[in-house]
Symmetry: C2
Subunit: 372 residues, 2 copies
């Protein structure tokens, strides 16, 4: 059997597609004494976390909380509470995570119409509108910031379009929440989910979720129970915000982390935080171009927290990532699906969005590529 | 809006039904630098964690890992990977968590036959055998240590019984793993799940799961996909132990915690650890009896990590718990379901199983009840 040593993980600067660097104050918060999941003090923190999440999501939705899992659990939660076998869904597939939305919905028995586009573009209003008109689906699910391509989907008028057909709008905000303008009520979105390990500066493990009254009413009209007990939103809402009936043993250190991460979002202010992500992204974009590298997405559509760069011809993309990791202690991400081997993915998320990180990464990349 | 202060949770000695006190070395491990979910060093830790879990479960099952959620996610994972709508299940309901197993299975569309008994007794072999013979179910699910009653279910011959009818044996080991003899292969069990926050001395957030080849073969024979992507065991196995294909962003601090918690289990040795839980439980049992309190379960059936004590006539059970919490900083648990108001639940789990904790709790209880 292995001789298990006490763990001693290396220091890494996490500039990939997430997780992002944990904010030092979040790290400190996690070390606070653990509380039971029914302790009045923990329940108070849940209530505050819910209020802080409403601010981060820019929503008045009562049912705003975090499910005990990663962003993928958030996605599964939103889809699973709504979908019954046979339901029709329109899903925007502009990359890997749009494809995941479609796959999850199909596992749940939904009939899915995919609206597709090239990986590196946004969905476009007209193809979405045409599909929705044809399908009159129960819901339309799209990704706001597609982490696989670095494209930010414009949200203008999509809510109005969806509701014209009595459908519900579901938005994946995993990579945008806290790093780019997410405005659930202004979008008129009915459900959104995110992760804690991207622009909120926390470790992964809790997935923020918010749903509208319209969404809750649609769930009430189900003829079958929600398949998942663990992710049943009304039970979770009762535990978080109602009479606190025991549901599951929420992880105190993860609650502390999310509470502190969101408190820091509030302290910085969303507008300033979005601007910081934007200005550091521009520093990065300009620097990459000065290195002679080509960005995968037109500037007007770029996600500020996640930049995709094309791998130059003749360069071994994996070797560059390994060198960055082993010689410089920096993690960046590889491409997924059709973009595998073709792009790198660079995240400047949450506490990771800092000019010093941009400077170090550009310098390291320059050295490795011999372009300094 | 609330004026959100930096958090400062009170110190609590967690002697309830879980979470249990986090071991100081686990706490320290969580503060180690975060790694990405595809970092080779993190993947090495997952492989070691799997090996350590095999030791803790006493199994050779290849598919042994932890799902990214609490013990409830572990329960949902095991049931959800197996059950297709219409499947017949026999579920032992000797308390709240047996009832949960049945509820979850029914949500998934299973036809559930409940084998029930009084809350405070074990299921008994004959009623189980009769139900299995009658139903010839796809699987039989029982709780090893019923956290709501404090009863340890004898496991002798149940595996043989279940397999005689070509059925699969699923065991809930949430409160027993690491605190009482759990021997998956010797039991001939096909699936088991647990939580990190009980006798493993970690915070909650990861749920150990192990399944046999027989179980995996049954899953392969499904005619519908597993409903949950997030809890799909074959995908999780591929990420943890195969080619590490991206599945979800596992939480590095929770992995560090579980790895360290399990390393400490290995260091102490399972037999010594079981003996420690047993001897501290006996200290508690004897002390409670000296205080004139009545235990809810006959000694031979007691869970060493979770003791149920009857609330004496005329005593306000909630007031005692609040006084323990507010004046002594000690958390114990209330009764659930039919035992609400009738019992207290005292956990001596993982790092919490210490003579000093027993001494303090007995002294505090004696003072509060005026029996010192």
């Amino acid at each position: 059997m292995t001789d298990f040593a006490e763990l001693n993980p290396p220091q890494r600067l996490l500039l990939g597609p997430g997780p992002s660097p944990v904010h030092p104050q979040v790290q400190r918060a996690m070390a606070a004494p653990s509380l039971g999941h029914l302790d009045p003090e923990l329940l108070r923190l849940l209530s505050e976390t819910s209020e802080l999440l409403r601010y981060a999501f820019q929503t008045k939705n009562e049912l705003t909380l975090a499910v005990s899992g990663t962003g993928m659990a958030g996605m599964e939660c939103v889809l699973g509470n709504l979908i019954e076998p046979g339901d029709r869904l329109v899903v925007g597939v502009a990359g890997f995570f749009g494809a995941r939305l479609a796959e999850l919905a199909e596992r749940m028995g939904a009939r899915v119409r995919r609206v597709e586009c090239e990986w590196g573009r946004d969905l476009g209003f007209d193809p979405l509108a045409a599909a929705i008109k044809e399908e009159t689906p129960k819901a339309v699910a799209i990704v706001h910031a597609e982490t696989s391509t670095g494209v930010l989907q414009p949200m203008d008028e999509i809510g109005e379009l969806v509701h014209r057909y009595d459908s519900l709008l579901i938005v994946d905000c995993v990579t945008s929440l806290g790093g780019a303008p997410v405005t659930i009520d202004a979008w008129d979105a009915d459900a959104a989910f995110s992760g804690s390990q991207k622009c909120l500066g926390c470790p992964s493990g809790l997935a923020p979720v918010t749903v509208s009254e319209r969404f809750r009413n649609a769930v009430k009209k189900r003829t079958t129970p929600v398949h998942s007990f663990y992710l049943d939103l009304e039970l979770l809402c009762r535990y978080w915000l109602g009479d606190h009936l025991y549901h599951h043993t929420i992880s105190a250190p993860l609650v502390y982390a999310l509470h502190e991460g969101l408190r820091l979002v509030k302290e910085e202010g969303l507008v300033d935080r979005w601007a910081r992500h934007r200005s550091n992204a521009e520093l990065l974009w300009n620097g990459l171009e000065r290195l002679g590298l080509e960005l995968h997405v037109p500037r007007v559509r770029r996600v500020p927290s996640l930049t995709t760069v094309r791998v130059p011809d003749g360069v071994d993309e994996a070797a560059v990532r390994v060198k960055l990791r082993d010689d410089y202690g920096i993690e960046i991400g590889a491409g997924l699906g059709p973009l595998k081997g073709k792009i790198w993915r660079i995240g400047l998320m949450g506490h990771g969005s800092q000019p010093a990180n941009v400077a170090l990464l550009l310098a390291a990349l320059g050295q490795i590529l011999g372009r300094d």
